[in-house]
């Protein structure tokens, strides 16, 4: 099994999902090979936010304007955004599509079994909130992205795509 995660494959899949707007706050795990190329890519418009919960609202406004978007953040920002995530994304039925870097996750270890407390609680929290999530850790996982985004928009519900290793 291919244990690498290629940033250009992720970008291709994001485009395949019809996303041309990325709302982002730099995450050390994804900024070098994912966010920076997206910032240089004329196919995308990037809206940089000062705090991750702004992004949940911006994506919701974009949804009402019939525009798809991706919120690219670190898991710490996800944890910091619980109120907006529960009230706006889940209860407000907004298809907020989040790509979340799991900075510090041990390769090959499921997030819920990480030695790091902050990482270990991410998946149980998403489960209890009823938010669909997928671990994107190898090239085989990348093909999950576009269908997950399609489901989010079809069902008007958020989805979290958890980036489990630094894309190359």
């Amino acid at each position: 099994m291919d244990q690498t995660l290629k940033a250009d494959e992720i970008v291709r899949e994001v485009k395949r999902a019809g996303i041309r707007i990325v709302v982002a706050l730099p995450d050390r795990m994804t900024s070098e090979h994912l966010l920076k190329p997206i910032l240089r890519n004329p196919d995308f418009r990037v809206l940089q936010v000062c705090k991750e919960d702004e992004g949940i609202s911006i994506c919701s406004g974009l949804y009402c304007a019939d525009q798809r978007a991706l919120l690219l953040i670190q898991y710490t920002g996800l944890l910091d955004s619980m109120n907006s995530l529960s009230r706006i994304a889940v209860e407000g039925q907004n298809p907020v599509c989040m790509m979340v870097g799991l900075l510090g996750k041990e390769p090959g270890v499921p997030p819920a079994q990480s030695k790091r407390y902050g990482l270990r609680i991410v998946v149980p929290i998403l489960d209890v909130m009823g938010i669909e999530h997928h671990l994107i850790e190898s090239s085989q996982d990348v093909s999950k992205i576009a269908p997950a985004v399609e489901r989010a928009y079809a069902n008007s519900m958020p989805v979290a795509l958890l980036i489990g290793r630094e894309p190359a």
Binding site: I21, R45, L47, Q48, V49, C50, K51, D53, E54, G55, I56, S57, I58, C59, S60, G61, L62, Y63, C64, A65, D66, Q67, A69, N83, S84, R87, I88, E91, G92, Q93
Partner: protein, 188 residues
Amino acid sequence: MMKRDECLKVLARHRSNEIVVAVWKAAHEWIHISPSDLNYTFVGAMGQGASHALGLAVGRPDKRVIVLDGDGSLLMNLGCLVTIANAAPRNLVHCLCENGVYETNGSVAVPGAGRVSFTGLAREAGYAKVYEFSLLEDWDRALDRILKEDGPIFVDLKVEMGEDYPEDFRRLYSIQHREAFRRALKNA
């Protein structure tokens, strides 16, 4: 100082087909003063009104978006001023109903009430234009121009509580009204 509902009535008279994002007390008042399917009250979490408005303004650059924010709300999400100025949507008018208190939560004073300069914060964040009004006639006189200018524009409205309007949070966050908004915007 202006009564907030009187201030909103002036805006309603100048409104044509703008999207209006309203939060908390202003939202309860606005849906009675200027009913429209292009009213967006589905903000969900305190402080987030201007961020929803930014998404709408970027998604529909052909439509003018007005947000009726509160000072307690804006203090909860001050970074949005920098985010909005950086994104620089020309079609966004960010109105602040500054009353100095958390009116929905017992009218306790906001931190820095009367000392914080919201126009100063917006100006230094990089808003294209910044205004402040405390008299209805000045607000009335300037509105037509403001609604045509390139933004992002920040308007600090010095207000106090006016008439009492019924609170209906279920209406503000109703999914049915959100879907009606989406349909109306698609056809607008």
